[in-house]
């Protein structure tokens, strides 16, 4: 197990570690430049060394959810595997790496080439985070099911992926172009218009999102509440912004506490109208179904005899699964949309971000794992095309 490395290569966070480890390390998959630091850039987790994170500039390997900026990615990977970070020498190891659904061939070729040539891996297994999650869910002995729907709410988009008898139903996969990035950008836009210009502050606004946003369980009720005055308005919160001298991370001010020295902003309906985009992308003009509607739409492309099993095994993963109220809202909406005679069960696992990575550990224990991988011998004989034949027949 310590010769297998699992890299769930998210567009915002890389989850990485040896299969022998209990849990992955979470590393920002980007390079950041700070206004305050002229001499250096911050690669991955080096951002913790940055004292003033105002106006951070991001260099991301991914665009629209696909790996396009290879020099950025190579730089981040070099750092991740170096002794300064995870200290995993990939040489002579097997690597399990995730990629997005319907990944493009030339990206898959690049992945294969880079890991065999640059990092000298012995073998490669290319998969998706949803595949690993499905395996994790279906193989866990508490669930006697062979069908499930994985709802992967990532940074770039949200995917709904049904599995029937362990097999992915490819023509039932649905993609919604809303993920953590759209939510942060939407919140940034709202705060900048209503309160103060934070258009350059993705990093801080992302933290605000994590601290204050929730999924409404009753949208109309919360819309009425947010119009009232405090204390009847139970939604409004005052948020203390970091000044990067005494406060390095913003926080929600206690209502009765003394006024802080730092600048504050009042957050009201944006607390729940922002995550609402996952349920109603059309709120900002993205003409796609929301997640509940899209799950039912994906279900239509699956064999009817297993619909009831699928609806009882809906597993939500990814960063957006952490937004409070997510499970409850999905459960309510799906209950209303699903046939009356079928049970609905939405599962948000204990650690929805590391869940796919943990699935990688399950994968290593499969008896036929050694036959599933692309070995160095196969690669050297057939070149980069071998990976496409092996993993995308």
């Amino acid at each position: 197990m310590n010769n297998i490395c699992i890299l769930d290569n998210g567009a915002y966070t890389a989850k990485v570690g040896l299969a022998s480890q209990e849990a992955p390390q979470l590393i920002p998959n980007c390079i950041m430049k700070a206004k305050s630091e002229r001499r250096r850039a911050f690669i991955g987790d080096q951002i913790k060394e940055c004292r003033d994170a105002s106006g951070l500039f991001y260099l991301l390997p991914f665009q629209r959810g696909y790996l396009l900026n290879w020099d950025t990615q190579k730089t981040v990977w070099d750092h991740i595997f170096s002794p300064d970070c995870c200290g995993i020498n990939l040489s002579e190891k097997t690597l399990i790496i995730t990629e997005p659904h319907f990944n493009f061939h030339s990206i898959q070729e690049a992945l294969t080439e880079i890991f065999f040539e640059e990092y000298e891996c012995d073998a490669l297994f290319r998969t998706t985070a949803a595949d690993l999650s499905a395996l994790h869910h279906l193989k866990s002995n508490t669930v006697p099911a062979d069908c499930c729907i994985i709802v992967d709410m990532g940074y770039s988009f949200t995917h709904i992926v049904p599995y029937v008898k362990g097999e992915k139903i490819k023509n039932a996969i649905r993609r919604i172009d809303v993920g953590g990035k759209v939510l942060t950008n939407h919140l940034k836009e709202i705060i900048s218009y209503r309160h103060l210009n934070m258009m350059d502050e993705s990093y801080v606004v992302n933290q605000i999102k994590e601290d204050v946003c929730f999924v409404s369980s009753d949208f109309q009720r919360d819309m009425k509440t947010q119009k009232l005055r405090y204390p009847e308005n139970t939604i409004i919160q005052e948020y203390v912004l970091p000044d990067f001298t005494t406060v390095n991370r913003g926080y929600v001010k206690k209502p009765e506490g003394p006024a802080p020295e730092q600048q504050t902003i009042k957050l009201n309906n944006e607390r729940f109208t922002v995550p609402e985009l996952l349920f109603n992308p059309s709120d900002v003009g993205i003409q796609q179904m929301g997640v509940s509607e899209a799950i039912m739409n994906a279900l239509d492309s699956c064999p009817p005899p297993v619909h009831h099993v699928l609806l009882e095994n809906i597993v939500v993963t990814g960063g957006c699964a952490l937004i409070p109220g997510m499970g409850e809202r999905l459960q309510t909406e799906l209950r209303a949309l699903a046939p009356d005679d079928m049970e609905v069960k939405v599962i948000i696992t204990e650690d929805p971000v590391a869940f796919p990575w943990q699935g990688g550990r399950v994968l290593c224990q499969s008896t036929d794992f050694s036959e599933m991988i692309l070995t160095r011998e196969e690669y050297e004989e057939e070149g980069v095309g071998a990976s496409i034949e092996k993993f995308d027949p």
């Binding site: 390079i31 430049k33 700070a34 206004k35 850039a41 106006g55 500039f57 991001y58 260099l59 665009q63 696909y66 396009l68 900026n69 290879w70 020099d71 190579k74 730089t75 750092h79 595997f81 170096s82 020498n89 659904h101 319907f102 493009f104 061939h105 030339s106 990206i107 070729e109 690049a110 080439e113 640059e118 000298e120 995917h159 709904i160 490819k170 023509n171 649905r174 993609r175 172009d177 990035k181 950008n185 836009e189 709202i190 218009y193 258009m199 350059d200 993705s202 819309m223 119009k227 309906n269 109603n280 059309s282 709120d283 900002v284 003009g285 993205i286 003409q287 796609q288 179904m289 929301g290």
Partner: protein
């Protein structure tokens, strides 16, 4: 500029109405903004990154005798430099039949679109006659006209 002049300009602006094409351009720009990684420019565009990259290969030389010389980030950037649109076009030729990236896109919702006030975020029943933006009250309409209405370059 005297205040009388600025009032005249304001009145002239009020009479201007955005045509449909301009409204669609504005909507498209708003959607593009949601995809952006950065709103501002690189503060240190001149910073040479490679000098700060940890010397990974020096630290981790393994027992394996190297058959090929490593090529580094530049090589991969040069070799795999296709942008998203190019990759999508390539994919359409390669994988013309569903399921593929395009077919996986969730179809439009069957639910009616909801409308929110662009100023305060509450539910909105009114549309600005000049630019088509939604608002909820006279107060919010006033704010909208003073700040955004036709001031954006559409």
């Amino acid at each position: 500029m005297t205040s009388r002049e600025s009032h005249r300009i304001k009145d002239a602006e009020k009479k201007r109405v955005l045509d449909e094409a301009a409204r669609q351009r504005r909507a498209r720009k708003a959607l593009e903004a949601l995809e952006q990684d950065n709103f501002h420019d690189d503060p240190h565009a001149d910073l040479v990154m490679s000098k700060k990259v940890p010397k990974f290969h020096d630290n981790l030389e393994s027992g394996r005798t190297r058959k090929t010389k490593r090529k580094g980030a530049e090589y991969y950037r040069a070799k795999y430099r296709k942008n998203f649109i190019q990759l999508l076009e390539e994919d359409k030729a390669h994988r013309p039949d569903p399921p593929n990236y395009c077919s996986a896109q969730a179809p439009p919702s069957r639910l009616p679109q909801r409308h929110f006030c662009a100023v305060c975020g509450s539910c909105s029943n009114y549309t600005c006659t000049a630019c088509g933006t939604r608002y909820c009250s006279v107060k919010c309409l006033g704010t909208h006209q003073d700040t955004r209405c036709l001031k954006w370059t559409a």
